[in-house]
Amino acid sequence: MAWVLVLPSILLIFGLTIYPVLYSFWLSLNNVSLLNPVRSFAGLNNYIEILSSQAFWAALGRTFYFVLISLSVQTVAGLTFALVLNQPFYGRGFVRALILLPWAIPNIVNGVMWEWILNSSYGALNGILLQIGIISEPIQWLSKPWLALNMVILADTWKVIPLYVIMFLAGLQTIPKDLYEAARIDGSGVWRSFFSITLPLLKPILLVILVLRTMQCFGVFDIVYIMTKGGPADGTMVISFFTYFQTFGKLNFGMGSAISFLVAFVVLSISLVYMRLLKTDEAD
């Protein structure tokens, strides 16, 4: 009876997850190009070709940079905002609602918006900087590979900060006030309280955010697609965009599947590490 009850969901999971995964694994072992009607078994050739391609490693490196920088910048900024919003002040409710705003904006709109803001000749950012007098020449935000990647991170950060703030805020509110009072009585300063009480007690929330955001950052696609299309000089060609291009730009489905599996492997390894971290935390 139990089997019969779960059968529909097993079929669904199989049809929507397991079968496509197996099928794309099979594709990755074959030469499957829409431009070539003849399919042939390729063994591990697709994998070998990808692993020896410089572009793949460059895209992977860029993605790691993206993940690392976004996570650290966003965590620090998100926590700062959350700490401020956790203090009682006049109009706090309003500010809390306001900080949610970017979260309500679709990724695509966010990408287009930042593309305008960062445009070097008519963009708002250069406009402001020039008027204040901080710069004398417009800065080409999206015309230099490394700078463009950082600008994409900035646009992404603006959009996801609310997630961090809300999560941290929720975490902060579960920390009992008397802990801080006790610490104060024992003579602990603000920083000491933060590092000995706030941070350790936020660890579970922090881990959840890290896991969630690592996966999201690893798969970052839409904002790159809108803002830079992987350019200039492949400076923003992150791994998911690279995979997409190999598959749908070049119509090479065998190669695209092989890259997807390599990426899946990397993501899986990261999540194993995270699972370990979460587990030891539970055991505490």
């Binding site: 015309s143 997409y244 119509l251």
Partner: protein
Amino acid sequence: MKWNAKKTLAILLTVMMIVVAGCSSGGGNNLSQAGNTGAGQETAKPEKLTMIVDTTFAPFIERIGAAFEQEHGVKVEFITTDYNSLHDKVVTSLAGGNANVDIVLVDTVWTAEFATAGFIEPLNSYVEEGLKDQIVPISYDQRVIDDNLYALPVSNEGKFLYYNEKMLKDGGYDAPPQTWDELNAIAKDLKAQGIAKYGIVWGWTQAEGLICDYTLLVESFGGQFQDEEGNWVFNEGGALEALEFMVNSLNDKDFTDPSSLSLNDGTVLNAYAAGGIPFMMNWSFAVNALKDNPDIKLAFIPGVEGKSESATVTGGGALGIAATSKNKDWAWNLIDFINEKRSEIIVNDYIGSLPVWKDLVDNEELLAKYPDLGMMTEQFDYAVNRPNIAGYSEWSHIMQFAVTSALVGEKTPKQALDDAKQEIDSKEIK
């Protein structure tokens, strides 16, 4: 209990295997030989036809669709996306065997690719005799692969030099420049007089438009992508000089607006309309977008002294019938309807590109709206095509990377093109 579970599992696995077998054979068909049913079969009148077109084309096609529905009672539905996403949209729809798409817009450089992949139907059996003679050859010939027409051209495109007549007059110039050196000199002079910030703005983001500009500059500098035997030779001679010219113009503070690197064929219009730049390179569709500014005029693209008088690159839209469409003859009826209505619903009115029909080239109504039509038609005498190869998308992407690498200064032009040639050769793209 345990035995029971095993038995259930066994049945489950059997079911799964049947599903796998069924799906994989179906998937295989979709990928390799997207159904090819040929023409001439009378199918029942469909309720609707579905087209994938880009946003530039949408206003025109919508007018056609409305007229078609009124006359034939078949609704025409549209899936629209911006040009830079159109290729992937069409590919993902057709590669997945989406039988709901009937007609797709095919850009010049996708014809070979789509035909090779079996996405679009050969049209020879639909085309009536004499049709070819009514169409401008440069538009028609781009769409023929191995003597088979794969898409019927509806718009003819090329790049042109846009200039701001008022800025030029204010600076003391009566005519647009004939060579790139002249353009550079005018730019420097206008900047010195405080009239302009930069000379020219282009859409040089890492996308197809960049390759279009590069192609026409290669022609300007007397270079070529392939030699007569089909070997790639763009890393030497005029093709190398063309890239060096692009890099130098960008590094020269007065010549190319540095923001060009983050602009595409669409957004470059915003930068140009914002003022302060006398020249812009763009397709003819920009005529429509800029028509409210009477100072903006069109000119021949400058040449290079001793090498060329002018050069441009071809483009344009054509309509192809999806190989998986169930309503191929009705799809053709719609395409033919455009032909029939060509002097009533004129493509130029909506997207501003040039007519593909010979009898429209000197249409008086059009001439009244597009005073430069004669000059624009003449510019096509200097037109070149981008390589007409099945692996074009991959080729183009490698070239986009090479050209932008040189433009941002990561590689020298020679190094960038050498690397690109090596990659293209090793992948045997031809």
